[in-house]
């Protein structure tokens, strides 16, 4: 059984239709890259899967782990193992990273019928997680994302992913704003978290991240639809020829606006 099966997914924001019939199936153990030009709907797809109420699903279905994903509120999706690494991580002033991470971790544990962990147990647990993204323990005492540099914010997202151990991680433009060292750290973290029973969808504009996180499949999103799918070599081809190459070959009708 597939981990997630997206069928003919349509979504709007305001009155504007962004997703115009997405079909995508991801199995456990796979890494899928979703690429595409600006405005093609990549981030919308990520947000819709996570359940952001700012987007309205107007058609299609998403089956996740045998469940109707679209019927679940965002927090239950998260508790069931869906994780979105945000393109723009949000600041929560005055709330320490440690407190926030433990609260989130405990919610996920509770949803699985496991006991909550106390702050001491959690501190031990965090040690290896911090090492994974090369973060100092002092980061835990800072307010969530407040005053973080762009790179720190993205690393903090991967730290959260390491803590919550999702079954389906969606990385939304995680490479944007990262220098090459930060990019390597973030990618290393993601690679180390890969297991046969989880999957990752990497949403990115550039091929660069895919040098570090090597996808099994690459999909090119154009104007709200997947215009082309292939193996990892497709990303290189795109880098070489540009998105115009796919856009011009897009299926009939995809250009309607």
């Amino acid at each position: 059984m597939s981990l997630i099966e997206i069928k003919d997914l349509h979504a709007t924001v305001g009155d504007k239709e962004i997703l115009k019939g997405i079909d995508l199936t991801v199995d456990a153990g796979e890494i899928h890259a979703v690429m595409g030009p600006n405005g093609s709907g990549k981030s919308t797809l990520a947000q819709v899967l996570a359940g952001n109420p700012a987007y309205e699903v107007t058609g299609g279905s998403v089956t996740y782990d045998g469940k109707d994903l679209l019927a679940l509120p965002p927090e239950e999706r998260a508790q069931n193992g869906i994780f979105l690494a945000f393109q723009y991580p949000v600041e929560i002033p005055g709330v320490s990273n440690a407190y926030f991470l433990r609260a989130a971790y405990n919610e996920v544990r509770k949803a699985h019928g496991e006991e909550e962990v106390d702050p001491l147990e959690f501190a031990d647990f965090m040690e290896e997680k911090l090492a994974l993204v090369d973060m100092d323990a002092s980061m835990l005492n800072r307010s969530v994302n407040q005053g973080f540099s762009g790179g720190e914010k993205k690393r903090n997202e991967i730290l959260q992913m390491a803590v919550l151990q999702p079954r389906l991680a969606i990385l939304d433009e995680t490479d944007s704003g990262l220098d090459i060292d930060a990019l390597r750290i973030v990618a290393d973290g993601v690679n180390k978290l890969k297991r046969p029973d989880n999957a990752t969808i990497v949403v990115t504009h550039y091929q660069r991240l895919l040098n570090y996180i090597v996808p099994d499949f690459v999909h090119v999103l154009v104007n709200g639809r997947i215009a082309k799918s292939g193996g990892k070599e497709l990303a290189l081809e795109l880098e070489d020829k540009g998105y115009d190459w796919v856009t011009s070959g897009a299926p009939v009708g995809a250009g309607a606006a």
Binding site: P53, P74, E75, A78, F83, I92, V95, F100, E107, V144
Partner: protein, 477 residues
Amino acid sequence: MSSSIETLISREYQHGFVTDIESDTMPAGLSEDVVRAISAKKGEPGFMVEWRLKAYRRWLSMKEPHWPNVTYGPIDYQATSYYSAPKTKKPLGSIDDVDPELLKTYEKLGIPLYEQKMLAGVAVDAIFDSVSVGTTMREELAKHGIIFCSFGEALREHPDLVEKYLGSVVPYSDNFFAALNSAVFSDGSFVYVPKGVRCPVELSTYFRINSADTGQFERTLIIADEGAYVSYLEGCTAPKRSTNQLHAAVVELVALKGATIKYSTVQNWYAGDKEGRGGIYNFVTKRGKAAENAKISWTQVETGSAITWKYPSVILQGDNSVGEFYSVAVVNNKQQADTGTKMIHIGRNTKSTIVSKGISAGEGNNSYRGRVQVLPRATGARNYTQCDSMLVGNRCGAHTFPYIEVGNNSAIVEHEASTSKIGEDQIFYLKQRGLSAEQAVSMIVSGFCKEVFKELPMEFALEAQALLGITLEGSVG
């Protein structure tokens, strides 16, 4: 169309039960005879009844203030009963004499009255309606020469101290509600910490209004003698009633040379229902006077009451004295709060800090009103004010009324203010990590209030945080 923050559901007030206990309640109404009767019931010394009568006569000539940014119907002062006491067969000798029903009430409220529970390190005076029902840990405190008792007892056992300091910070003529309180207050707490003594435990009073149509008018007087230190906590609850009840308290703090008084309040009076029916009118006067090198610090978490009208203030009389005000005020549904502080700089090199966090949800209306006054003599005075408002939803209001009067060129006065809205993006971010909407709001708001919560004693801070969560529960969907 509908924003997730807009959906409102309501959570019931948890302390809304009524204790079935026989009360000795005076008929409604106010006159010189009532004032005399209250004084007689308490067996007060002669100076007290005279003081009360002066206050009453002054009150008759005063008008209820209407400058606060709140609206409510006229209050019929003749329809309120000014004295209610749980009936007891004999005077209370020890905690064991307290009516078991009453002890059960305090247990429900989570107030540990028994000595064995006092190991937690808090001494408690509990005020039920108008009278004090038990003060714990008194013997332990007496070893240090600390007096912690009900106001009534203080009048009987330490009349000189009371006479010397009563009204020295808040005179009976101060304002309409203070005058009313001075005339009819029936009990309260009294603290005296002798010279150089550091009070080893947190002192605590729990106020509870039980009877219907009763006003509660308690009076607290805390005196920290030279070099003394005391930390005092105050908590309040009331049953749910469909009519409004009046609470007009007065708190006076006297910090003598080099003394420190830290006064923390978690106010959770019944706030009324979603439509704004019922709830407590909380019209309170709180003020401290700081002598040379003394420090007075107010911390308040105001989550309850239909209307809050309250400005804990510090008169910085002595040179180098310090005044602080840390406040969290939350309004939800139809609650209204007009609260803030006054810092009056009289002495040289006096310092004051004001940190106010106002949170408005539902159709609540929150106003910060503060006055920073630097008198001509106050060379080197310094004030820092930070005033932040947070809005939850689109139907609430936040207002700021800062008054700054500087009469000395060397003074430095800073005022910072901000208004923010809980963002849908913040809530979604936290939900995406598995937290419910309510947990998310509670977390965001706690973070917003962090600077104030860290001023509270540990256990109180946890209670305050929980209370904040409860008050705001249902403010988002």
